[in-house]
């Protein structure tokens, strides 16, 4: 009795409801598939750089500590000789160093001092200062979970940007250097 009261027109459109729901779920899941779960948002953006003081990579400078990051905009690159993607991005860092636009620091993560030293000798040293984080303890304070990682730090020592994984020219220009320039202009 009740069903008849709805009329045939209502019946015809009703079957579209589950279809529409399915469509919405499918689109939601499709978008979810394109997200990059390895891009973990850094909890440290906007906070001061951690307290650390590291010995240099053998033969490469006087060491690297928190105080080095105060007073100018800096880029901190986490690297290791055992890290293959680091070799991929390394020429770009050499370019940055030659350009002299920003202070570049190297945090050498869980490396043997002699390996890191040889690696820099072979591929060139773009870093003003290097710090050897032998145990990875400073890395934990920096929230490092993979190598390479790159941080942009402002003149007050506040972390402004983090990139996980090797950089390419696009990331260098559009993310890192553009943020650096913005911060330098302030």
């Amino acid at each position: 009795m009740m069903r008849k009261a709805h009329g045939p027109k209502r019946m015809r459109t009703r079957f579209l409801v589950p279809l529409a729901l399915f469509g919405a779920v499918a689109i939601g899941l499709a978008v979810g598939l394109t997200l990059q779960p390895q891009n973990i948002p850094s909890a440290l953006i906007g906070s001061p750089v951690p307290e650390f003081a590291l010995e240099p990579v053998t033969n490469y400078g006087p060491g690297f500590a928190t105080t080095d990051l105060i007073g100018q905009v800096s880029v901190v690159n986490v690297f290791a000789s055992w890290c293959i993607p680091c070799r991929v991005e390394h020429p770009l860092w050499i370019e940055v160093a030659e350009g002299g636009e920003v202070s570049l620091f190297g945090l050498n993560y869980k490396d043997l001092p002699e390996n890191a030293s040889e690696w820099l000798a072979e591929f060139g040293n773009p870093y003003q200062r290097t710090g050897a984080d032998l145990s990875g303890r400073a890395g934990v304070d920096w929230g490092v979970y993979g190598v390479p990682e790159t941080f942009v730090v402002d003149a007050e020592g506040i972390i402004r940007f983090k990139h996980v994984g090797p950089i390419d020219r696009y990331v260098l220009e559009n993310d890192i250097l553009s943020i650096v320039r913005e911060l330098q202009a302030q």
Binding site: I40, L44, K110, S135, G136, V140, G146
Partner: protein, 156 residues
């Protein structure tokens, strides 16, 4: 004070470890105090290994997981509470390091979504089932109908 404690632990570990292990990270040993170690393990199970993503640092063999296990033990050793220890890692790695996401505005949908779906579906089911029920008691057959039925039943 905490930094000196960490340094002392690190230096001790390094002295025992020698350069071969040095480059591979911190040494992962159970704490001598069984109560503290039990707390450490309970915390390890709540924390995500960030490189393997769906394992806890208790289960994972990844180097980072080992480092984080050591950090948890360090924090407990210097007298941090469980919550302080967890917060220490959240400050560095974000909520992502927690296997169970915290309840806060950004995660409302995550926590309440299933409940909302359940309630909506139950309400819809209730409405549907009610509508399906006969809303009047069947009328007894008229004499004519009764005769027709009798007629049909009598046919071979």
């Amino acid at each position: 004070m905490t930094r000196t404690a960490i340094l002392a632990i690190a230096v001790t570990v390094w002295c025992f470890a020698g350069p071969a292990v040095l480059a591979q990270g911190l040494i992962d040993l159970p704490l001598a105090d069984p109560g503290l170690e039990a707390r450490a393990i309970a915390l390890h199970k709540r924390l995500r290994c960030l490189v393997c993503q769906n394992q806890s640092i208790h289960e994972s063999n990844a180097e980072l997981a080992r480092d984080l296990r050591v950090v948890v033990r360090e924090r407990l050793t210097i007298g941090n509470t469980d919550e302080q220890t967890v917060q220490f890692l959240v400050d560095r790695y974000g909520d992502w390091v927690l296997l169970s996401p915290p309840f806060k505005p950004a995660t409302l949908l995550l926590w309440l979504g299933p409940l909302v779906i359940l309630l909506t579906a139950s309400a819809a089911a209730a409405v549907f089932l009610r509508r399906g029920l006969p809303n009047e008691t069947p009328q007894p057959l008229t004499d004519d109908e009764r005769a027709q039925v009798q007629d049909l039943l009598r046919k071979p």
